[in-house]
């Protein structure tokens, strides 16, 4: 594909015609340039785009001062460790959301993957747990993706429905109970061991977040996700295979939830189909993290680092409030209010500009 951009208008008489007119155009451009960059004043868009960063820093500073345990490497590592499984799922579902879709089945994929991993470890040997967690996770994501792209089921409903079925299968596999995995270090090193003092889940979370952020920002695939989320029709008319791209986002999300499930199984040394724990709240917490970070729930706008920030703010509130001995119910109340506030600020500013 050769590009000769100057060709079409090269012969354009007006461009070359009048030096004064050309001058005028340049300065108009310079003015517009200044207006867009506008480095000096803080404006509404800045509050919308970066307010959450300021808030995170302030919250961090507050807990550091209010509690003498908060700002220790041990506590901070624990904070990230406790949120690693949510974080991995949240980073991946950011792709789906940026492309203008939704996935409510995160928790269920997590639960079923965890159970399958434990089942494989018990029945076929621990090494089987790794592929058996991630590959079916991806397959479950593919089911979601096919329902949304081929059958045109609304993503909300499709993933709500598959979520029910996935958990059902998990309960069937475990007969409603717990699968205890062999206490082989091969299986438990993921969740229970450290390297240079850092828990493996923390490292995996960091790697997943960095890789996904780079893919989003620096690849053709990432660019396509933004385009589809911003204007699906335009993406199609620009020659994009929209359905295939959307399907891939669901597969990535499914695989990531499988990975999260594996980590959880390894941490606890068991697989459980019980959804009263993390499995039940994972989807909502992950999506809350995406929204809190400032990615648009309607697609087209957002990034993975925002999701990481959102998840860590939610985690920080739990951690900090625990350290300050604030009752549990306050955590939920504050987190709820926070999400509403963040989304409302975004919407209000959006409407005004």
């Amino acid at each position: 594909m050769t590009v000769q951009p100057s060709d079409p208008v090269a012969g354009d008489p007006v461009v070359a015609e009048d030096p004064v007119a050309a001058e005028g155009r340049v300065s108009a451009g310079a003015i517009a340039l200044r207006r867009i960059r506008s480095p000096g004043r803080i404006r509404a868009e800045h509050v919308r785009d970066y307010g959450i960063v300021v808030f995170a820093v302030a919250l961090f500073a507050y807990f550091s001062i209010a509690s003498n345990v908060f700002l220790t490497s041990q506590n901070l590592l624990n904070l990230v460790f406790q949120n690693a499984t949510i974080g991995i799922a949240a980073c991946a579902v950011t792709f789906t959301i940026i492309a203008g879709n939704f996935d409510l089945s995160l928790g269920s994929i997590f639960v079923l993957s965890e159970v399958l991993a434990a089942y494989a470890a018990v029945h076929y040997g621990v090494w089987w747990a790794f592929p058996v967690a991630i590959v079916p996770g991806a397959a479950m994501g593919a089911i979601n993706g096919l329902l949304v792209t081929k059958l045109r089921v609304n993503a909300f409903l499709a993933t709500l429905a598959t979520a029910l079925s996935f958990v059902g299968i998990a309960v069937g596999v475990t007969s409603g109970g717990l699968l205890i995995t062999p206490s082989s270090s091969v299986f438990t090193f993921l969740g229970q061991h450290r390297v240079v003092g850092i828990q493996y889940p923390v490292i995996i979370f960091a790697v997943v977040a960095i890789v996904l952020q780079l893919v989003l920002a620096y690849t053709v695939f990432g660019r396509h996700l933004y385009g589809i989320g911003d204007n699906r029709n335009a993406a199609r008319l620009s020659g994009l295979k929209v359905d295939r791209t959307v399907l891939i986002t669901f597969v990535i999300t499914g695989a990531a939830c499988g990975l999260s499930g594996l980590i959880d199984a390894s941490t606890t040394g068991s697989g459980t189909s019980d959804t009263s724990g993390l499995g039940g709240s994972l989807a909502l917490l992950a999506i809350a993290g995406v929204a809190l970070g400032g990615s648009s729930i309607f697609g087209g706008v957002g990034s993975v680092w925002r999701t990481v920030l959102g998840v860590l703010i939610l985690g920080m509130i739990t951690n900090g409030f625990d350290l300050l001995a604030v009752p549990d119910f306050w955590q939920d109340i504050v987190r709820g209010i926070l999400i509403i506030t963040a989304v409302a600020i975004g919407t209000i500013i959006e409407r005004r500009t």
Partner: protein
């Protein structure tokens, strides 16, 4: 139904602006009670706007509306309805999943202590239907009805509310001729009962057949109001277009022998396109004229792979291509600028660079799909400059640009691919004068460089100014072909279906 229903409407010096441009300027019209009053004009002449002002959908910026000699100012269609004025919009609005009866009586259900009297409603409906001679199943879901029957629902709803004035905006644009005839019969019945009809349409034969009085609008001004009996289709067309508006005229090569780039044969899409044959040579600009709804945009979308076709071949450079998606059309060397840059074209929240390269991101990426941002910025920069897009900042978001510059960004996306065939649907809609002139020069220069161009525009001056050949579409077919610089009246008459229908 008696003479007490007579409701004269007077519009005095009505003015309305949309973001700077005047949609209506000092328009005064008097509508006699119990008559059919037609509003005609070209696209954008203001006839729909005027209709909507009467219906309370739009509030005028200047002037005064009188109903029954009483000055009124409607804030909503609801207020107009209270005065007995009902609007039947182009996009029909009944609640699709409710039955015909429920729609007709929506908001005015006969009720007793809060409960809807279903049997009473049924009885009223039957009376209404027999009184007006409609045939319509009251239990059918409105969503399953055809357009013509949805219109009946709207008309029944209007009379059930006691409307004395009914405003209809392009009611026949998607009706068959039989359905149109039925609608006209209904309108005559309504008139006979003393009701007033304001009829907005661009079908001149219908207007002359039906209306008592016709008001002709041109670019927001009233040309004249006259009894329909004194008008002919030719006189209306002359009134609607008057002296040609300003548009730059380009030199047009005669009798090009350049090779044919795009060849469309026997293209059909049920109910939309019929037996389309066309050829475009390298360096040729073919203009496609016709009324809104004549199938112009549909033809463009079909060739570009945006809509499916039932039958036909599309060949590029002599090779027949199987085009089932926009990607196929692009692979064949085509580029398509859709009618609505906001709905189908631009990524408003993405940067100019991302918008420019989107249709071929691979060209600024490595083999492994990694973006080469520096290269992208460089290539975008030179395109932004050559199209003089303001501001020429690749990292700016498209949403922050003016309409004209946004449109140029869309051009940039397709120029980035160096297409063999460029299909342009309304390339200067909603664009300011300077940008419009720049886009016209750009199109002309592209053709000079050998690109085959298919140009669709509602602005006849634009088509005439640029096109080397002009095709006229009407009701899904190409009905006339003209060479370069045909007389505007001839093109308009062809678009309105007057004169001969063979190729010249």
């Amino acid at each position: 139904m008696s003479a007490e229903a007579v409701a004269p409407i007077r519009l005095v010096s009505i003015g309305k602006r949309y973001s700077g441009t005047k949609a209506l300027d000092d328009v005064s019209v008097e509508v006699a009670g119990g008559s059919v009053h037609a509003l005609v004009g070209a696209n954008g002449a203001g006839k729909s706007t005027l209709g909507k002002i009467v219906g309370g959908v739009i509030r005028p910026d200047e002037g005064q509306l009188f109903v029954d000699d009483r000055p009124v100012r409607y804030a909503s269609p609801r207020e107009a309805r209270i005065d007995g004025i009902a609007m039947i919009a182009q996009e029909l609005s009944p609640v699709p999943h409710m039955s015909v009866i429920e729609n007709v009586f929506l908001g005015i259900e006969p009720r007793r202590s809060g409960f809807v009297q279903r049997r009473q409603m049924r009885k009223q409906y039957d009376e209404l239907v027999s009184q007006w001679g409609f045939e319509l199943d009251g239990n059918a879901k409105v969503g399953t009805l055809r357009t013509a029957d949805k219109q009946k629902v709207e008309i029944l709803r209007a009379v059930a509310c006691g409307a004395r004035v009914i405003v209809m905006d392009e009611p026949t644009s998607s009706l068959s001729s039989v359905e149109t005839e039925t609608l006209h019969r209904m309108i005559r019945t309504l008139r006979a009962s003393g009701r007033t009809i304001v009829y907005v349409s661009h079908f001149l034969d219908e207007v002359l057949d039906l209306a008592d009085t016709v008001s002709v609008l041109r670019s927001g001004h009233l040309v004249r109001t006259a009894p329909a009996a004194e008008e002919t289709e030719e006189s209306l067309v002359a009134g609607m277009f008057g002296a040609a508006a300003e548009a730059e005229h380009f030199e047009k090569p005669q009798g090009s022998t350049a090779p044919v780039v795009l060849e469309v044969s026997d293209l059909n899409r049920k109910g939309v396109l019929r037996d389309i044959w066309l050829q475009i040579r390298a360096g040729e600009i073919v203009g496609l004229a016709g009324l809104v709804g004549s199938g112009r945009s549909e033809l463009a979308r079909a060739i570009a792979g945006a809509d499916p076709i039932d039958r036909g071949t599309i060949a590029v450079d002599g090779t027949p291509r199987r085009i089932r998606s926009p990607a196929d059309a692009m692979a064949a060397g085509m580029a398509f600028l859709p009618e609505s840059r906001k709905d189908d074209g631009l990524f408003m929240e993405l940067t100019l660079a991302a918008n420019t390269t989107f249709a071929d991101v691979g060209a600024v990426a490595t083999r492994f799909g990694l973006l080469r941002r520096g290269l992208e910025r460089e290539k975008t920069n030179s395109l932004l400059k050559s199209l003089s897009i303001q501001p020429p900042v690749p990292s700016a978001k498209v949403v922050s640009l003016s309409g004209g510059n946004q449109q140029k960004v869309l051009f940039a996306r397709w120029l980035f691919r160096n297409p063999r065939v460029l299909i342009l649907d309304e390339p200067t809609r909603g664009v300011d004068v300077a940008a419009r002139a720049a886009i016209h020069r750009l199109i002309n220069n592209l053709a000079t460089g050998g690109t085959a161009v298919l140009l669709i525009s509602s602005e006849i001056e634009e088509v005439l100014g640029l096109a080397h050949r002009v095709l006229v579409m009407r009701r899904g077919s190409i009905t006339r072909e003209f060479g370069a610089d045909p007389p505007m009246e001839a093109v308009m008459e062809a678009a309105f279906g007057l004169g001969g229908s063979t190729t010249t």
